[in-house]
Amino acid sequence: MHEFSIAMDIVDIATSYSRKEKANVVKEVEIEVGQLSGVVVEALEFSLEAAVKGTMLENARMNLIFIPGKARCTNCAQEYETDTVYMPCPACQTGAPDIFQGRELRVKSLIID
């Protein structure tokens, strides 16, 4: 369950930025989670609930934004959606996709006062 340590890192990042911005209240943390990031969204949600306890994020809304996986075929340049890191190109059936979207795992923004 690496999601728990990921959740702890998210809490670290969000609290240190909130402090830097001299925030009193954190209303929302926006987190981008790519389909191919290696993180299970439900497990991350569950872990975040526990990880925020006793921090200034305790009452903040955790807004998880799911980003679907997209690849470009290295053979014919066809772009396609994929839910694995190795799905062959549907047009030319060649392997070796270049994943250009879906690996994101980012704290995108904070809504603070």
Partner: protein, 274 residues
């Protein structure tokens, strides 16, 4: 990177010990999260209950969650490069034979090469004791509730080990094909080990690990006559996930194929001619 990976409970930080050492029971109450709330109580208590009058603003921060680990991993990598240390991150499911592979490697190659070992497990000093017995300096990292090593643990373990210039550092990760895939340790190469008692489709089930590895060792080949394991199929699946993956088939038990493994890391340890 949090030291108390996966737990968040006091007293469950990872421990880094040499065989024979005992953990000190510190009474830190870190829970992996810093609690330095900056209340400015300078005499006045403004209990003005202004919940509905807050002026919220959005701050774009765009921070990679693994950024801190990746940064520290690069520091480790730079240190290894400068000291001409070949650092290998050995990953696999539990029971594929990582520790046995290391034991045999140390016994057969330890006279000519200098090995240093970091053992990662949730609990126990068992593996470190086995490695010490085989004859290499070792530290055991117990991750507590954690499921993987991270760059910070390796950084601390390397300092404790006092790894010598020009040596080979083998980092045996926690037996787990999922979590360690995401955490760069600063290794020179990642070696994934599977054994023929597992399914051929491991690479498809755990593609992240196989995609991020440089070498795939298929162990326990001495058992092939008793199993339905299809080596060709396993390689095909692994190559589907990672076309650049190299393979070595071996049996730690009989020693068959071990020379290929020795040649591989000796080759990798040779610094490129400048």
């Amino acid at each position: 990177m949090c030291d108390s990976c996966g737990c968040g409970q006091p007293g469950k930080e990872p421990t880094i010990l040499k065989p024979g050492e005992h953990p000190h029971h510190h009474t830190h109450t870190h829970d992996g999260v810093e609690h330095s709330h900056d209340h400015d109580h300078d005499g006045h208590h403004h209990h003005t209950h202004d919940h509905d009058h807050r002026q919220y603003r959005k701050v774009e921060i765009e921070q990679d969650v693994l950024g801190k680990n990746n940064l520290l991993a690069e520091r480790n990598r730079g240190y290894f490069e400068a000291k001409n240390i070949l650092a290998l991150n050995l990953v696999s499911s539990p029971g594929s034979g990582k520790t046995s592979l290391l034991e045999r490697t140390i016994r057969e190659q330890g006279k000519n090469l200098s090995f240093f070992i970091i053992e990662g497990d949730q609990q126990t000093m068992n593996d470190a004791n086995r490695i010490k017995e085989a004859g290499a300096p070792v530290v055991q990292v117990n991750t507590g509730e954690g499921c993987h090593l991270d760059a910070d643990m390796v950084n601390k373990a390397v300092k404790k080990l006092e790894v010598k210039d020009g040596s080979i550092l083998m980092i045996e990760n926690v037996g787990n094909l999922i979590c360690p895939a995401m955490f760069d340790l600063g290794e020179s190469s990642r070696v994934v080990i599977m054994s023929v008692t597992e399914g051929e489709d491991k690479p498809l089930k755990y593609p992240y690990m196989f995609q991020t590895s440089n070498l795939c060792i298929i162990n326990k080949t001495d058992l092939l006559p008793y199993l339905d394991f299809d080596l060709g199929q396993a390689r095909e699946y692994a190559q589907q996930v990672n076309p650049k993956l190299e393979f070595i088939e071996l049996s730690v038990k009989t020693g068959e194929g071990m020379d290929q493994w020795y040649d591989w890391f000796k080759q990798a340890a040779t610094p490129p001619q400048v």
